[in-house]
């Protein structure tokens, strides 16, 4: 008896601490990752880097022998253009599909739909990239008589297809969370189904829908392998949808493996990592603030 009691008094704080550790470990990992990524690039950032050139020059010549130039403007433009196009396609399709699945379709169809969409989410990004490199490349060459099919359009469509499942499943959850009494009340007032969706459900679920869209954006910004293969990986500020671009993530993926450790090039690649980290941080923070703002209204 005494032994068991002692064991329990010992076990209690151990369990409590374990759970506490699990809770704070997430925070520590995030800060740890940021710290180590930042540390690799910090030396270069503080001593040699010209920040104005870094952000405003489109000239990315990290391995030039005579004149090294580290400008990431073209890479930022690449990431922005592909992400914007992907969202322009994925948000209407994703939210539309979420509304259809949650409000309009029969239970049987709904099951089939959800399984298919989950299957879409399960396709690995390298397979998407391969589809972009082979099938989509040839389709774009034929359809637009473009010289090459590895373009913003190709990358944007691939990324849209990759973000749609996330937007659909989270958006559908948000719509499902709206209490049925709202729908019943609206219908009792004589609203049509479209009016129920437009006037009642969308305003009630806007936090969740916004979260769905932002997770889709984060997926698009962070995607690497598919855009590396589908966008053509060319350092260039795009002037049309049929231009090739290169994204920040793809640059790190393609060049980090062969950059000599602790060289300038290596450190600049880590700074691009810090930049990406900051971009996603700003996206998430603004999402949080928007959601909070909506709540206070």
């Amino acid at each position: 008896m005494i032994n068991r009691q002692r064991l329990e008094t010992l076990a209690e704080p151990v369990i409590e601490w374990t759970i506490r550790l699990c809770g704070i470990s997430a925070i520590i990992f995030v800060f740890g990752i940021f710290f180590f990524v930042f540390r690799e690039g910090a030396d270069f950032l503080f001593h040699k880097l010209d920040l104005v050139e870094f952000f405003t020059s489109p000239e990315w010549y990290p391995t030039s022998v005579s004149h090294k130039r580290y400008g990431v403007l073209a890479l930022i433009a690449g990431t922005a253009s592909v992400t914007l196009l992907a969202m322009a396609i994925a948000v209407p399709f994703g939210l539309g599909a979420a509304i259809f699945v949650s409000e309009f379709c029969s239970p049987k169809l709904k099951e089939a739909f959800k399984i298919t969409i989950e299957l879409l989410a399960a396709i690995p990004s390298v397979v998407w990239g391969f589809i972009g490199l082979t099938i989509m490349n040839e389709m774009i060459i034929d359809l637009f008589s473009a010289p090459i099919g590895l373009t913003v359009l190709n990358g944007g469509i691939i990324l849209a297809l990759m973000s749609v499942p996330i937007i659909v499943s989270i958006g559908e959850d948000a719509l499902k969370a709206v209490p049925d009494s709202y729908r019943e009340a609206a219908e009792a007032l004589g609203a049509t189904r479209w009016q129920v969706v437009y006037r009642v459900l969308l305003p009630a679920a806007k936090n969740g829908l916004l979260a769905a869209v932002l997770l889709g954006v984060a997926r698009a910004i962070g995607e690497t392998m598919a855009v590396l293969m589908a966008t053509g990986h060319a350092v260039k500020i795009p002037h049309s949808l049929l231009d090739s671009v290169r994204t920040l993530t793809a640059t790190i993926a393609a060049e980090l493996g062969e950059a000599p450790v602790h060289s300038e090039h290596y450190q600049v690649l880590f700074l691009i990592g810090v930049l990406l980290f900051s971009i996603t941080f700003v996206v998430n923070l603004s999402a949080d603030l928007i959601v909070k703002g909506i709540r206070q209204e």
């Binding site: 740890g32 010549y61 490199l133 490349n137 008589s145 010289p147």
Partner: protein, 314 residues
């Protein structure tokens, strides 16, 4: 009262975990010594590096395992820089490179491992210039390539090369290149432009020798460069001449060896310090006629007979 505050507990936990993570990360930088023994008692030679050489290195490893079952050679690719980085960290015994190590990298390797990297030329590779098989172009000069690829170069259309490329209606030359730190990219840039100038931005920089040939095979407007062993039926190897008016040569064993084909380069293997034991035996075997026959079989250019003596240079 203060000692029980949750804030302080959290801070302590924070510090503990931060220390634990730091120790873990610092502890990961272990270095290996000599050839290691695998659990089955075999000696293991770690070999990694150049993407251009990975097929060749793999074939060597397989053939060597058949002759000498007590040694196993583990090969991985990733690029010349990856192999050099691993050599600097002391995690591989032999690094394959399609370019020479830079002085800076030699210094790092010396500083990190205490040993001077030794260079061995183990074969040659001719870089072929590829176009789509529907492209009517047959030959090109180094100057024209420099105008196509180099910064400030004026050739951007196929018609400027004096041909009509019917499969490419808008006439634009699509440049296919490699990521900027691959050995192949360095060598091609140096051959075309010397060390002073750079390539034009906006080329499609692919991540692998095979991908270049693959994309050129699918894109009628494209031009690209890659090892001559990577040719497929969808592409055509151009004949290359040093200057306009001089004869152009197709990349092949003979033209690469006698130096008439202008874009051929040595392939290197680097070891840490003068190689000894199993590593030395392996390199000697690579220099033997058997090892060199494999070079030829893999689509590269073997060493001429008088160079088949293993000697190292720093």
């Amino acid at each position: 009262m203060f000692s029980n505050s949750p804030l302080k507990k959290n801070t302590m936990a924070f510090v503990c975990i931060a220390i634990a993570i730091t120790i873990f990360v610092l502890g990961c930088g272990q270095k290996s010594e000599e050839t290691s023994l695998s659990p089955s008692g075999k000696s293991v030679i770690q070999n990694s590096g150049s993407d251009t050489m990975v097929n060749l290195a793999q074939t060597w490893a397989e053939e060597y395992a058949a002759i000498n079952p007590s040694v196993s050679v583990e090969v991985s690719g990733g690029g010349s820089g990856t192999g050099i980085a691993a050599l600097i960290n002391g995690t591989v015994d032999i690094a394959n490179c399609s370019r020479q190590m830079e002085l800076e990298e030699m210094a790092w390797a010396k500083q990190n491992t205490g040993k001077e990297p030794q260079k061995f030329v183990v074969g040659y590779d001719a870089l072929a210039v590829y176009v789509n098989k529907e492209n009517p172009l047959d030959q090109i000069t180094i100057e024209q390539l420099a105008e196509i690829y180099g910064e400030g170069g004026k050739i951007i259309r196929w018609s400027q090369l004096g041909i009509n490329n019917p499969a490419c209606p808008n006439d634009e030359i699509i440049r296919v290149s490699r990521q900027s730190n691959s050995g192949t990219y360095h060598y091609f840039r140096e051959t075309l432009l010397g060390t002073e100038k750079d390539f034009k931005l906006g080329s499609r920089d692919l991540h692998g020798s095979k991908d270049v040939v693959e994309l050129v095979g699918r894109t009628p407007c494209a031009i690209g460069y890659s090892g001559m062993g990577y040719a497929t039926e969808h592409v055509k190897k151009l004949k290359v001449s040093r200057e306009g008016g001089k004869p152009a040569y197709e990349p092949s064993l003979e033209t690469a060896l006698d130096g008439t084909y202008p874009i051929s380069r040595p392939l290197y293997m680097y070891s840490l310090g003068e190689p000894a034991g199993e590593i030395r035996k392996y390199l000697e075997w690579i220099y033997s006629d058997v090892g060199q026959a494999i070079v030829q079989k893999s689509g590269y250019v073997p060493l001429p007979q008088e160079e088949r003596v293993m000697f190292s240079t720093q």
